[in-house]
């Protein structure tokens, strides 16, 4: 299985509002409101953590089994990728050449 490092897309603007994170695309036309768990995952999508590492942190932070955490992270990353606000990188951000 390939290692994936999810990373927030450059074109999005996000702000933490209370317990939730609200993500807006820079065209202002679409937005996504993330609940507490999704917000926790979103903040870890900086291109330096692999999906399983994010799931480990979710498992440590919330009362959720590692299996469920892995499924939750995987499903959310898929959703956010389809929504075009996350991209999947095959390498760590720090190693990416721009």
């Amino acid at each position: 299985m390939k290692t994936i490092y999810p990373i927030q897309k450059d074109e999005v603007i996000w702000r933490r509002i209370g317990d939730t994170i609200v993500v807006i695309k820079e065209d202002g036309l679409s937005s996504h409101t993330l609940n507490k768990t999704a917000s926790f995952i979103w903040e870890l999508c900086d291109g330096n953590l692999e999906i399983n590492e994010i799931a480990n942190k979710l498992n440590e932070r919330f009362e959720v089994s590692l299996e469920d955490a892995q499924a939750d992270v995987h499903n959310l990353i898929e959703e956010l990728t389809i929504a075009d606000i996350i991209k999947k990188s095959k390498g760590k951000k720090d190693k990416i050449r721009y």
């Binding site: 509002i17 609200v22 820079e26 409101t33």
Partner: protein
């Protein structure tokens, strides 16, 4: 661009400048058309200022087209921008930004600037001048932003009714009689950020033209925000902060200015502002059927609820 304007001290035929105060910004407008300038002085008499200008707008008025011709050309006109220059198709408007000298030079058809004409660009001109000066003075952190809203001053505080054009802002202003409150503006208001020293948000009137003439130039603390929605009944609901943030950000006039921001910077400025605002004052959705009695009953009801109660 050739120097078309004389500074105030060297003017011999007429004083071709007026200075307009928009919040903390002073904008000096120079115009080569005495008739237009006098109309602007009359229109903006509550907002004239002697302060040191933050930005200079040089307006060259041209009269090449009849109003009928202009109306037909306007519908097909497109706005284009190349570096510091901008122009519209059909030669209706062109100009350039000069960031170093804090100057915006604009040449445009008289009908586009004449306040007597319904199709005028004065509001855009004021908005661009305000944000341009803010950018030069405050960088990416303007102390106040323009918001699509009608304000009503009641019991020393302002309630604002925000929403896009044709949603009912002017209707609310017209439904406001002396016993209900004082109308600030029926189109666009200037909203401050919450103060860092515990002071709340303030609302300042602007020289922006709605259907009603701009009112007096004054400031008052903000009580709450209603986001308007048309319906066949009048009812309200409290918006949680995330929804309030998303609904309110759409009512902010984007900071379009000299040496424009890229899209992401502009949206980031709006996002920061919206986030600060919705965490400081209650935001409600108001479905509104244009009935005066119900509207003011709702306003009375909400004035009975404390701000802390709403925000917690």
């Amino acid at each position: 661009m050739k120097a078309l304007f004389q500074r105030r001290e060297s003017a011999t035929e007429f004083d071709n400048t007026l200075s307009l105060q928009i919040g903390s910004i002073c904008c000096e407008l120079r115009c080569n058309d005495a008739e237009i300038l006098q109309k602007l002085r009359d229109l903006y008499h509550n907002y004239l200022s002697d302060a040191e200008p933050d930005v200079f707008v040089e307006l060259e008025v041209t009269s090449r087209m009849s109003i009928n011709k202009l109306s037909s050309v306007l519908t097909r006109s497109r706005y284009m921008r190349h570096g510091n220059h901008f122009r519209s198709s059909g030669r209706l408007l062109n100009g350039q930004f000069d960031v170093e000298n804090r100057t915006v030079k604009i040449a445009g058809e008289k009908a586009l600037i004449d306040p007597d004409n319904k199709i005028n660009l004065l509001n855009q001109l004021i908005s661009i001048s305000y944000y341009s000066a803010c950018k030069m003075k405050y960088g990416t952190n303007p102390p106040a932003m323009l918001v699509h809203a009608c304000g009503i001053l009641r019991n020393g505080k302002i309630i604002i009714f925000a929403g896009p054009s044709n949603i009912g802002k002017t209707t609310i202003a017209r439904l406001c009689s002396d016993r209900h409150g004082e109308v600030f503006n029926d189109e666009i208001l200037l909203m401050s950020r919450p103060g860092t020293n515990g002071n709340g948000i303030t609302i300042q009137n602007t020289p922006i033209l709605g259907d009603l003439l701009p009112g007096r130039n004054t400031t008052a603390p903000l009580r709450c925000i209603f986001i308007l929605k048309q319906n066949n009944r009048t009812t309200w609901r409290y918006l949680d902060k995330a929804e309030a943030y998303l609904r309110f950000i759409r009512q902010i006039i984007g900071p379009s200015c000299v040496g424009n921001y890229d899209k992401k910077t502009a949206y980031s400025i709006m996002a920061d502002f919206s986030s600060e605002v919705v965490q400081s004052v209650p935001v409600y959705e108001l479905e509104f059927n244009q009935d005066s009695d119900t509207l003011w009953r709702v306003a009375d009801e909400l004035e009975g609820i404390s701000v802390a109660e709403c925000l917690n």
